[in-house]
């Protein structure tokens, strides 16, 4: 509804006001006249009419407003339900425009596409409500002033822009998956919203392989319930109870991965989903198809040369070629410096040292990781690892 209204106003604040006003009218007229057959369409039509009237009013006041209306919007007789998916897609592309700061893109998407209230977004990102409100206002002002268009990008720009949207959804998911600080490892609200967005995008862009890949990756969230034990303690992949994994969701993700892989050369989300699928299919950690996973990581690193990918690949190397080879790669990454401050680097190094029997060095590395983590469940896990790798007295 907001998405359909923005197309009339080209102004997010004005659209939000119009939508609120439509609800007020509904509260006034529905008890008297009865609820209309299609309440959603009724609200959308009313909100758009309010927005249009407000705009005409402003137009006569200022007399030099640019023409913002598309011709089709002049016809208000039909509630244009069939254009709503397209409107929603436009709204997503506007919120995830690369000309906006990434934090602002995430916040705008939550506020305007998912309808999450500003205080809740502020809470999720551990900033004050005032800070978050200011961030949203600044972003909306830039959209209006710099004229960030409310359109689905043209075919030549589309792949890059879809990738930007998928990145934002993935960041949102990652923020919820491993909350950087705080008591709860999983912030269900964020992961749930990210999953909803990925599903929405999959429906809106059925031909996009990476939209399918991202959805598959997030649906592998099926494992989430077993990432912590009954006490909320973090469990490593090899310790998790595989029988508790949601097989129905794993099957859904597998179908998406297979479809994406068949459709053409896989992108980074599809490759990550394929890796997650191999983990999910394996009867145990040891019986996982590690050579295949390593092949997928090689492909991933080629199209996405990120040090984080290289670090994850090192874990696969340790399972195929042994911890010594993997340690050499992790140490190379350490020298590279781009992952300085990234807590999973010392944590991975510690695991490898521990497996090589170099426990004193492992303890040092675990402690380095511990110093970088702000997540209570992770800290507890790492402290436990320090104790188990430490000298037995």
């Amino acid at each position: 509804m907001l998405a359909a209204t923005v197309r009339v106003t080209r102004d997010l604040d004005a659209a939000e006001e119009a939508v609120q006003e439509a609800y007020v009218q509904a509260l006034r007229t529905w008890p008297r006249d009865g609820v209309p057959d299609r309440p959603g369409a009724w609200l959308t039509t009313v909100a758009r009419r309010i927005a249009l009237n407000a705009m005409r009013h402003r137009h006569t006041l200022e007399t030099k407003l640019p023409l913002l209306l598309e011709p089709e919007d002049a016809d208000m007789s039909e509630p244009a339900t069939d254009t709503i998916p397209d409107d929603r897609l436009r709204l997503i592309f506007t919120c995830c425009h690369p000309a906006l700061a990434q934090q602002a893109q995430i916040a705008l998407t939550l506020r305007l596409v998912c309808g999450v209230a500003t205080p809740d977004i502020a809470h999720a990102f551990l900033v004050t409500e005032t800070t978050m409100a200011a961030r949203l206002t600044r972003a909306k002002r830039k959209i209006a002033t710099a004229r960030i268009p409310y359109v689905v990008p043209s075919a030549d720009a589309l792949p890059a822009r879809v990738d930007a949207v998928l990145t934002i959804i993935h960041l949102l998911y990652a923020a919820g998956h491993t909350a950087h600080s705080g008591e709860d490892l999983v912030r269900d609200e964020l992961t749930g919203r990210a999953l909803d967005l990925a599903r929405m995008l999959r429906l809106l862009l059925p031909a996009d392989r990476e939209a399918a890949g991202l959805l598959a990756l997030l649906v592998h969230d099926a494992r989430r319930a077993t990432r912590t034990d009954a006490q909320g303690r973090l469990l490593r992949l090899e310790e998790q109870d595989r029988s508790a994994w949601d097989r129905e969701r794993i099957a859904e993700a597998d179908r998406l991965v297979v479809a994406a892989l068949r459709a053409g050369p896989p992108g980074r989300f599809t490759l990550q989903a394929a890796i997650a699928a191999l983990h999910a299919q394996a009867p145990s950690y040891a019986e996982t198809d590690w050579p295949q996973i390593l092949t997928l990581y090689d492909a991933l690193l080629r199209i996405w040369p990120s040090p984080v990918v290289a670090l994850n690949r090192a874990v696969a190397v340790s399972m195929v070629d042994g911890p010594q080879d993997a340690l050499a790669e992790v140490e190379a990454l350490e020298r590279d410096g781009r992952l300085a401050g990234y807590r999973y680097l010392p944590a991975t190094k510690a695991e490898l040292l521990h497996r090589l029997g170099r426990d004193a060095e492992a303890v040092d590395a675990y402690q380095a990781a511990l110093a970088l983590s702000e997540n209570a469940a992770e800290q507890e896990f790492l402290a436990e690892r320090v104790r188990s790798a430490g000298p037995t007295s």
Binding site: K64, L65, P66, L67, H97, A99, T145, A146, R147, I148, P149, V151, P153, A157
Partner: protein, 116 residues
């Protein structure tokens, strides 16, 4: 159509204008034409002498050099008309650049109401 300023930032060379490669100069000459081909319009263009020739004034204090020292200095500005930010960014990407980049800024109050 809305107006945007495209600010060109380049790493400065000792010889100033003389150091600009001829193909870059030529591409600058063709820029208005290329912008027009993509549905935009060039309104104005300014090329600046090197920042070593600049003089800054703060209050009563007059000093040698640009107001803000940056690794890549402001080398030129042009003003374009574009449909929206995406269009403006596409046009700005046509700017010939040696080693720096451009900044795109919307301009205040020069919106042109098109007769429909």
């Amino acid at each position: 159509m809305a107006q945007y300023a495209v600010l060109i930032f380049e790493r400065e060379t000792p010889g100033g204008v003389a150091d600009i490669p001829p193909e870059i100069m030529e591409a600058h000459g063709q820029l208005p034409e290329r912008i027009a081909e993509q549905g935009g319009r060039t309104v104005a263009g300014l090329a600046l002498e090197p920042s070593s020739t600049a003089t800054a004034i703060r209050g009563d204090l007059v000093t040698d050099g640009p107001f803000i020292e940056t690794k890549e200095a402001l080398a030129g500005v042009f003003v374009i008309e574009a449909r929206d930010l995406d269009h403006a960014l596409a046009l700005a990407k046509l700017t010939p650049i040696v080693s720096g980049g451009v900044e795109v800024r919307p301009l205040i109050g020069f919106e042109v109401v098109e007769a429909s």
